[in-house]
């Protein structure tokens, strides 16, 4: 559907990318060339990092080096980085590990727009006797720090807020929240899965920060929790003394090396204003395509990640629209990937006050560092055509429209 720049062909995922305009980077990203090479190298480095012989020590050295690279991305000292099996595990370790270390007592404050990992942890903690307060966002998709402050109590142990929302891209005021949480003597966790590799994390004052490699060009199934040295969590996975007793099991060396290489490749982008400008240009350009359509609404207000565009097209079903686009070689999603296949409207949009029909009419476009203006034009044109086609299929007969609204 589009011509790719030659630089793209270095990337291992090129075979697939060349056929598709991929605008689902918030779900997962193609592996960067650096990460692919690092995984390949690590597959050959097969010793067990816990073995004392040369091959074990070579694996250990590779692990230590990777830890330093990931520490540079997430901020914090090397020994504050705990490798995990992904973003969800990091979040579980942060939330459930913190309360398990306190025998399941105390109060958790989190928000209604967290990822399923955060919300399900909150639900599990609540079932096990932890008090949980869930703060609703404002209609623009942001959590108001004043509402967090109001939810906090004397026995609040932990506050968990995401850095940017995966569905809307809304950037949350985590610095302000961290400040008030610390002032109240509580701990702060930030789910930075959507911002790692896109926004700097080293200045985050939170006690815990979760990231997932596959969202910033690393492999799937590996992530990290930045865990402040002063804070102790109960491990989710007990056993050997790996990760300084914070996560047992032979380390996922290929995954960790891949994540580290992706982190190292992402770091320079974080300091490069041209990269940010490019993403904003892409966003503006895509939205301009939609100007020819009626009934188009962008869900989140500023501040928002340029990369993530959540937009409702009235009288169109998001999942159906995504299918038409897919048939036209454009990969997007309706919201979080975890929701695919389920019919209930997004909990994030619902919490923002978006009605069920509007929520179901929503599509998420998410660009990556290699997305071009051509990609955006292909996607924009295909979307406009698809929306028009689907509106033609559903017709403009008042009765069907009325039914649609009532439904």
């Amino acid at each position: 559907m589009t011509t790719r720049s030659p630089a793209r062909s270095e990337c291992g995922a090129d075979d697939q990318l060349s056929e598709f305009v991929y605008l689902d980077h918030a779900a997962t990203t193609p592996l960067t060339a650096e990460a692919a090479a690092a995984v390949g190298d690590a597959l050959r480095l097969f010793g067990n990092p816990s073995s004392r012989h040369t091959l074990g020590q070579a694996a250990r050295d590779a692990l230590d080096e990777a830890r330093a690279q990931v520490a540079a991305l997430v901020g914090g000292a090397d020994d504050e980085v705990v490798f995990t099996g992904g973003g969800s595990e990091a979040i579980n370790l942060a939330l459930r590990g913190t309360f398990a270390a306190r025998r399941g007592t105390g109060h958790l404050v989190t928000t209604a727009i967290e990822h399923a990992a955060g919300l399900e942890c909150a639900a599990a903690l609540r079932r096990n006797g932890v008090d949980v307060s869930i703060v609703a966002p404002e209609p623009g998709g942001h959590v108001d720090p004043a509402r967090i402050a109001a939810a906090m109590r004397a026995d609040t142990v932990l506050v968990s807020v995401m850095h940017a929302n995966n569905e809307t891209g809304a950037i949350q005021p985590v610095d302000e929240i961290t400040e008030l949480v610390h002032a109240a003597g509580a701990l702060m966790h930030v789910d930075a899965v959507q911002t790692a590799g896109k926004l700097p994390l080293d200045a985050l004052g939170a006690d815990m920060v979760s990231v997932s490699a596959h969202k910033f060009g690393g492999p799937k199934g590996v992530g990290a929790l930045r865990l402040a040295a002063h804070h102790r969590v109960e491990p989710l996975i007990c056993g050997g003394g790996q990760e300084a007793g914070r996560r047992a099991g032979t380390e996922n060396l290929p995954g960790v090396r891949g994540m580290a290489a992706a982190a190292a490749a992402a770091l320079p982008r974080l300091r490069d204003p041209r990269h940010r400008e490019h993403q904003w240009r892409l966003r503006t350009r895509l939205l301009r395509h939609f100007d020819v359509l009626d009934g188009v609404r962008v869900h989140a207000t500023n501040p928002v990640m340029a990369e993530t565009i959540s937009v409702a097209f009235d009288h169109v079903r998001g999942d159906t629209l995504a299918d038409v686009l897919d048939l036209n070689g454009v990969c997007v999603s309706t919201g979080s990937a975890c929701h695919a296949g389920r019919d209930d409207p997004s909990h994030v949009l619902t919490a923002m006050g978006v009605g069920a029909d509007q929520a179901r009419a929503t599509l998420r476009f998410s660009a990556g560092p290699a997305t071009t203006e051509d990609d955006i034009d292909v996607a924009g044109r295909a979307t406009v055509a698809a929306v028009r086609q689907l509106r033609r299929v559903s017709g403009t007969a008042p009765r069907l429209q009325e039914a649609i609204r009532a439904g």
Binding site: R317, T320, L327, D343, R392, V393, R399, L400, A403, G407
Partner: protein, 134 residues
């Protein structure tokens, strides 16, 4: 769209008999308030009970749109009497198979086909804005 059969992809991409017949002999509408799928059929029936013209409009998941189109292609030129045999299983077969989470659209399609026959027999116009049987 690997989850869809070639037939579904075909009808989804190139819907047959799209639209609404303004002065149709018979109309039928069905809606599923759970998943939101909706199909409107309008048809003309010739003297020998054969469906001489049929159109659809639909809102819903991709499979429901495809099944609505497939339904009109199946019904067009058939005697109304044969439609009572058109059940969900037969529609699923005609669709070249449906994934478990798509199967409800076959029931929806069969339902609206049966409504079309009933409405014609009763001389009624099914005008409930939402009716649900699935």
């Amino acid at each position: 769209m690997g989850r869809f059969s070639a037939t579904v992809v075909d009808h989804f991409t190139n819907p047959r008999n799209l639209g609404e017949i303004d002065d149709a002999d018979v109309r039928a509408f069905v809606g599923n308030p759970v998943c939101g799928d909706q199909i409107l059929l309008t048809a003309n029936v010739a003297a020998d009970d054969v469906v001489s013209d049929i159109r659809f409009q639909a809102f819903g998941c991709s499979a429901s749109l495809a099944v609505a189109s497939l339904l009109t292609a199946t019904i067009h030129g058939s005697p109304l009497g044969e439609l009572t045999d058109l059940d969900a299983a037969r529609l699923e077969e005609l669709a070249g198979g449906l994934a478990p989470d798509q199967r409800h659209v076959a029931a929806l399609g069969a339902d609206v086909a049966h409504r079309l026959v009933n409405n014609f027999r009763r001389g009624a116009n099914d005008d409930d804005p939402i009716s649900c049987s699935v």
